[in-house]
């Protein structure tokens, strides 16, 4: 199957600063990928190279099997929400989106309809005749996403879409990204790991300009499990007995909030799981679900070696 985005040995430096040092990764079609890394790891640089805004020192970028020429971009094949998005401030939303729609091949009424489609997708239809400068931060992000959606490109890159947004807008943007369909590959760069864990099914972790992990989200979360979450029909009243049973297995905490959560340091997952299941059976507490997962935060720190 052709990769939606394939980056091979990509290098980029700004003066003496090496931003990307042979970055290589490949994303399958239709995934929602978290693009994670520390500040300065090279996330925004990667997006800028894929968009054709910067010139790579070396390496290749392919979108849906087509190699992207340096500084040319893959016109109409990729939509990008840049981190520091700035629009044509004095122009109305519909006027600037109409220009983008015409450039990707829509004409006349079709272009108008496409603009209306993307504006309603981001709930900005009512603001269509307002200039971009009149928009709040949340609305600007939504306008940025709207422009990225024009022409339904198969690859959409969103750089820090959640930064500085209130929970309601975040939730709307999550829903919007979730509704993009199976054919669209979405790559989201963000530091909000908890958020990414909830709605991304793929992850690419980069560190110091190199890809240190790329694969399904489940794979990274289950890579070295030190936490098991048991969703129960009812929570146990007392955890003292279970804590005692686990005392010889380097379990760091046994806790209950909405579920029973067992965290451990070096013990074998199988042993811990066996003890907890046996105890729950004895206590006659029905189990709804067992989740063997790290939090993305922990998995990320583990992978980058901190």
């Amino acid at each position: 199957m052709t990769a939606a985005l394939e980056v091979t040995e990509l290098k980029k430096h700004f003066g003496k600063v090496q931003a990307l040092q042979g970055l290589t990764f490949s994303l399958p079609e239709g995934v929602c990928c978290a693009f994670v890394g520390a500040n300065g790891a090279g996330k925004t640089t990667t997006f800028s190279l894929v968009g054709g805004f910067l010139r790579p020192a070396s390496g290749k970028i392919s979108i849906a099997g087509n190699q992207v020429a340096s500084l040319q971009g893959a016109h109409g094949k990729v939509g990008i929400l840049p981190q520091d998005m700035r629009f044509f401030e004095e122009r109305t939303l519909s006027s600037q989106l109409l220009l983008f729609a015409k450039l990707v091949g829509f004409a006349g009424q079709e272009a108008e309809s496409e603009v209306e489609r993307v504006l309603s997708a981001v709930a900005l239809s009512e603001k269509r005749n307002q200039p971009a400068r009149a928009l709040s931060r949340g609305m600007r992000v939504r306008l940025g996403i709207a422009q990225a959606l024009i022409g339904s490109p198969p690859l959409i890159l969103l750089d820090e879409p959640m930064a500085g947004l209130d929970p309601v807008v975040r939730s709307q943007i999550r829903e919007l990204i979730g509704s993009l369909g199976e054919k669209t590959t979405v790559v989201i760069s963000s530091h909000e790991l908890g958020e990414l864990q909830n709605f991304c099914d793929y992850i690419c972790i980069i560190d110091k300009g190199e890809c240190v992990f790329v694969g399904p989200m489940k794979q990274v979360l289950q890579g070295d499990v030190k936490r098991v979450t048991y969703s129960l029909e009812r929570l146990p009243d007392n955890l003292t007995e279970l804590t005692n049973l686990l005392s010889s297995h380097e379990v760091s905490s046994v806790d209950k909030d909405n579920a029973l959560i067992v965290e451990f340091a070096q013990s074998s997952l199988t042993e811990v799981n066996k003890i907890v299941l046996a105890w729950l059976l004895k206590e006659q507490i029905p189990i709804l679900e067992v989740s063997f997962e790290d939090s993305l935060q922990e998995a990320y720190l583990r992978i980058i070696g901190q």
Partner: protein, 274 residues
């Protein structure tokens, strides 16, 4: 090619509509009419002086053919010394027009590309179109604007001259105006090519304006450096005395310079990171 032409058309129309929306076109038009009006008014004021001057030298009336016969074959620098022998007001008016037009274009169009670079909206465009279509469209939109302004202002001034003067026919007014256009349109293209070039190198209006004026230094060197003997001087003279061979040399020379700066600017812009 079709995609390039289609994008060129879309972006040119968009830029023109923005020029009118932002009232830039109107400001440019008013300033241009003032300039052209001033030059034409100057011509009419010095007309009698000019006639006397030419008659003293055996030329009955200011006329392109007569001037060509008397001034078209001077070698090299003698052309300039001959020019300096002409009524200074005539030369100054034309010189003033050339400077004003260059400044007008610099002021109205200096942010043609730097505006998009500065605010980052260039990135949204480059996701959908090529740098070729973008750069060419910016030049084309502004060139069309100035040519239209030039034609409209000359037409208005021609009509005004006919109504306000005694015995002036439309053709009588048209001839000097066409000579004037022949001189100014290639100069307009050169000035605009320099302005777009400078704007593509800068992220701010001040930076672009500074670069435009710095770029005039090599242009002046090219204009006055006798790469091709006779040609350069005739070309310079053509700016301030657009008649006969001078006008032809001026037209060809400025067009070549405009193309040189346009292509150089584009090649640099094509390799620029945004």
């Amino acid at each position: 090619m079709n995609l390039f032409l289609s994008h060129l058309w879309i972006l040119t129309l968009d830029e023109l509509s923005q020029l009118f929306t932002r009232k830039r076109a109107l400001i440019a038009f008013v300033l241009y009419v003032v300039m052209v009006g001033f030059v034409i008014y100057g011509f009419s004021r010095i007309d009698s002086t000019m006639t006397d001057f030419l008659q003293e030298r055996g030329i009955p009336k200011l006329n392109g053919k007569n001037l060509l016969a008397h001034g078209g074959n001077f070698p090299g620098r003698e052309v300039v010394s001959q020019l300096l022998d002409w009524p200074i007001t005539f030369v100054l008016f034309q010189f003033f027009a050339a400077i004003w037009m260059s400044e007008l274009i610099a002021l109205v169009s200096c942010d043609v590309i730097s505006r998009d670079r500065e605010r980052g909206s260039l990135r949204f465009l480059f996701l959908r179109t090529s740098r070729e279509a973008y750069y060419f469209s910016k030049f084309l939109a502004h060139f069309l604007l100035y040519v239209c302004i030039h034609i409209v202002s000359l037409a208005l001034l021609s009509l005004a001259s006919i109504f306000l003067s005694d015995g002036l026919s439309f053709l009588g007014v048209l001839e000097p105006f066409l000579s004037y256009s022949w001189s100014l349109i290639p100069l307009l293209a050169l000035t605009l090519a320099l302005t777009v070039f400078a704007s593509s190198l800068s992220r701010s209006i001040v930076g672009a304006l500074l670069i435009i004026h710095l770029l005039w230094i090599p242009v002046f060197i090219l204009l006055t450096w006798e790469i091709i003997p006779l040609f350069s001087w005739k070309m310079v003279v053509g700016i301030v005395a657009p008649f006969g061979q001078f006008a032809l040399m001026n037209g060809i020379g400025n067009t070549v310079l405009a193309l040189t700066f346009f292509v150089s600017g584009f090649l640099l812009f094509r390799r620029a990171e945004v």
